[in-house]
């Protein structure tokens, strides 16, 4: 008898969980009848205060909506994955990895359409590609970064050479790195990541006229094309010849410490470098000579859960969060994404920010492999290992062999 009871209890428990995994519960209203919106962001520490203030402002202006901010910080992905897996996602959330999460998101095209053409065309055009998946738009852009070449002015002065400009090629970088490494003791001219994120690294292949995959997602003949091999070979040679350091992490720490003269990175480190008082400059990514250099985009958007109970209210909030006012508010945390704001705030006149917009304009028409290749997250893991085999000083394997092998999966 007892045994049966226990068994039934357990079954009932598991069964209910099973159902709640597939269905969803009611609600979505606060006790005083307001539409309740949960909003998740990845901002951390102090930035959260600024966000909370903006959310409060929205709540004050809307009698019928109450937004609560949930700041997940560096663990954003774990949290969203857990929420999505247990069917308890926030109504509105920051988003970047659309291929991984699109299935749980609401397509926003019809909402955008209702706002009229001017709403959409005020955003930098390239950004829409990065906030879409499989033909639908799943997020409204709120920020982005391209990559650019950071250089340390003091080190260039010490070495007695000209600072980089927007027309530099990689040959110029190699030349300068040589001089820096020889003239400044204990310093390297350039640094790049020993274990680059394959998503980011594709920009170098684009810049040299190739990509990881073709339009159908085929690797062979692309990832291991001669032009791709050229790119990897160049970086490996710089490391072998001792002019460049392959860094364990992003390279920001080495650059901050004044151990390296140049590195390519997103706008994330600008605030840190300013606070440190590093005397640095930013220019476009160097080109391979033939064509303009291309950058990958790390884009942030704001998305809606497809299971949200209050989609209209959620959209209302998304509109607020992507408005001119909020774009201005977030300057310093995020590069603004609206033409009108970039113009009115004179962003292009600020030398540390302008290159990121030039790179953005140069980089339209490119689609990262993550949006094309099914199962990118696993491919990315295996590519990452291949790249590391090329750049890790204790491996330094033959570029051609590694890429040929990697293309056969």
């Amino acid at each position: 008898m007892k045994k049966k009871l226990v068994a039934m209890l357990v079954l009932a428990m598991t069964g209910t969980m099973f159902l709640s995994a597939c269905g969803s519960d009611g609600g979505g209203k606060t006790s005083d009848g307001k539409a309740k919106i949960r909003f998740a962001s990845w901002d951390e520490a102090e930035d959260v205060d600024a966000q909370q203030a903006a959310v409060d402002k929205f709540n004050e202006a809307h009698d019928d909506i109450e937004v609560t901010l949930e700041a997940y910080g560096g663990e954003f992905d774990t949290k969203i994955a857990a929420g999505m897996g247990s069917n308890d996602m926030p109504d509105v959330m920051y988003m970047w990895n659309y291929p991984a999460y699109a299935q749980g998101l609401e397509p926003l095209d019809s909402y955008i359409e209702k706002e009229g053409e001017d709403y959409k065309s005020n955003f930098y055009d390239t950004l829409w590609n990065y906030n879409s998946y499989d033909g639908s738009t799943y997020g409204i852009p709120i920020g982005f970064t391209t990559h650019a070449l950071f250089y340390n002015k003091d080190i260039f002065a010490e070495a007695g050479i000209d600072e980089p400009d927007n027309d530099w090629t990689w040959d110029d970088v190699i030349e300068a790195s040589k001089t820096i490494t020889e003239k400044c003791e204990g310093k390297k001219g350039f640094s790049f990541q020993m274990k680059p994120d394959p998503y980011d690294y594709e920009m170098y292949l684009w810049s040299n006229g190739t990509a990881y995959v073709d339009a159908d997602g085929g690797l062979d003949g692309n990832l291991n094309s001669d032009k791709a091999k050229e790119v990897f070979q160049m970086f490996q040679d710089m490391e072998k010849d001792g002019y460049a350091a392959a860094t364990e992490k992003s390279g920001t720490d080495e650059f901050r410490a004044g151990s390296t003269g140049m590195y390519v990175y997103g706008s994330w480190s600008i605030n840190t470098l300013k606070e440190d008082g590093v005397n640095f400059g930013v220019v476009n990514i160097p080109s391979f000579g033939g064509q303009d250099s291309i950058s990958i985009l790390s884009s942030s958007g704001i998305s809606m859960s497809k299971n949200s109970k209050n989609k209209e209210a959620a959209w209302e909030f998304i509109k607020f969060w992507t408005s001119e006012e909020m774009n201005k508010e977030r300057i310093g945390m995020e590069l603004p994404v609206l033409y009108s704001v970039v113009e009115s705030e004179g962003i292009m006149e600020q030398p540390e920010y302008a290159p990121f917009y030039t790179m953005l304009e140069q980089s339209s028409d490119y689609t990262p492999a993550s949006f094309i290749y099914d199962g990118w997250s696993e491919l990315s893991e295996s590519l990452s290992l291949s790249f590391e085999r090329v750049f890790n000083p204790s491996a330094m394997e033959n570029v051609s062999d590694v890429l040929d092998e990697a293309a056969q999966q």
């Binding site: 969980m17 997250s377 491996a395």
Partner: protein, 312 residues
């Protein structure tokens, strides 16, 4: 009469009742759920699809990383478990020595355990950085060129072991508590008999603390297989996947690749492995663990304990 007998029989169950309730309410549901998941292709947001033993078959036939990660974790456990226990026991013996200032050392050895795991990982990342790390800088002052700890696959697993041995304090404290409660007159008798300290350790201390040795052995086997946080933050599984532990492999399958069903299958295979290891240890334990409650235990301990002696 029967009523009384029944209630007497029920007494042990009453004692363990809290755990039984907790198990039924909080634990078994999720456990069974994850077992069910392991037979599904279970993406994050789309509908799950039943695949039978598909996930298990994939692991054993086509997923090369499965066996690689398993070997890495076994290797880690084989080095880490005994090493950690020896260090813990050694420290526990050291901090029971009646010398001045030993209290301070006790606290020093325990400090690393209370530092949050995230901070510990970042700290060791700094210390062990090959080019700019503190450790290699110090070595360079001595004229030694330190290895690239987190870059060279040959050194990385050692780096992880060094960093994880930092948290040995809990195990030390467990041994320490046990050793502290050995009545002092047991040792006094032995000293009179002329037993050397080493002999006292092996013939008195060690047998008496076998129950806690068993505990530490089993729990550290389990935790070494589940090691995730440290490698995730310190090495990210690298260099060249040399520290891609089984725990990290499972975690990434769930939270990076969003294959919840597959990750559950990973977890249940690991469960079976740990279960077998634990069962073997338990089986062997009847030969080397001495409980007072069983016949043939170290009877001395109990009798002396009644006199209320203790080791100062």
């Amino acid at each position: 009469m029967t009523q009384k007998k029944l209630s007497k029989k029920a007494i042990p169950y009453l004692f363990i009742l809290p755990w039984i309730i907790g198990f039924l309410v909080f634990t078994i549901g999720p456990l069974i759920f994850s077992l069910i998941m392991s037979f599904f292709d279970w993406p994050l947001a789309a509908d799950p699809e039943f695949v039978g033993f598909g996930n298990y078959i994939e692991m054993f036939t086509s997923d090369k990383q499965f066996s690689k990660s398993l070997v890495i974790s076994l290797k880690y456990a084989a080095i880490f478990v005994p090493l950690n226990m020896i260090i813990a026991l050694f420290l526990a013996m050291l901090i029971t020595q009646p010398v001045k200032g030993v209290k301070v050392f006790r606290t020093i050895f325990y400090i690393p355990t209370v530092i949050s795991g995230v901070a510990v990982s970042i700290l060791w990342g700094w210390i062990l950085n090959g080019d700019y790390g503190v450790l290699n800088y110090l070595l360079s002052l001595l004229g030694i060129e330190g290895p690239k700890w987190l870059v060279d696959p040959a050194w990385a697993i050692l780096a992880v072991i060094i960093a994880s041995a930092f948290g040995v304090g809990s195990m030390m404290l467990i041994f320490y508590t046990d050793i502290k409660n050995i009545p002092i007159d047991v040792y006094e008798a032995a000293t009179i008999d002329g037993a050397s300290p080493a002999r006292q350790f092996f013939s008195i201390t060690l047998p008496i603390i076998t129950p806690t040795i068993l505990f530490n052995l089993i729990t550290s086997i389990i935790s070494s297989f589940q090691q995730v946080t440290l490698v995730m933050l310190l090495t990210g599984g690298g260099p060249l996947k040399s520290t891609y532990f089984y725990g990290l492999y499972t975690y990434n399958n769930a939270f990076k690749h969003h294959k919840l069903g597959y990750a559950s299958a990973n977890a249940w295979v690991m469960f079976i492995i740990i279960l077998v290891l634990t069962a073997l240890v338990f089986k062997s334990s009847s030969a080397w663990v001495f409980y007072e409650t069983e016949a043939g235990g170290v009877a001395k301990k109990g009798k002396k304990a009644k006199k209320g002696g203790k080791r100062a």
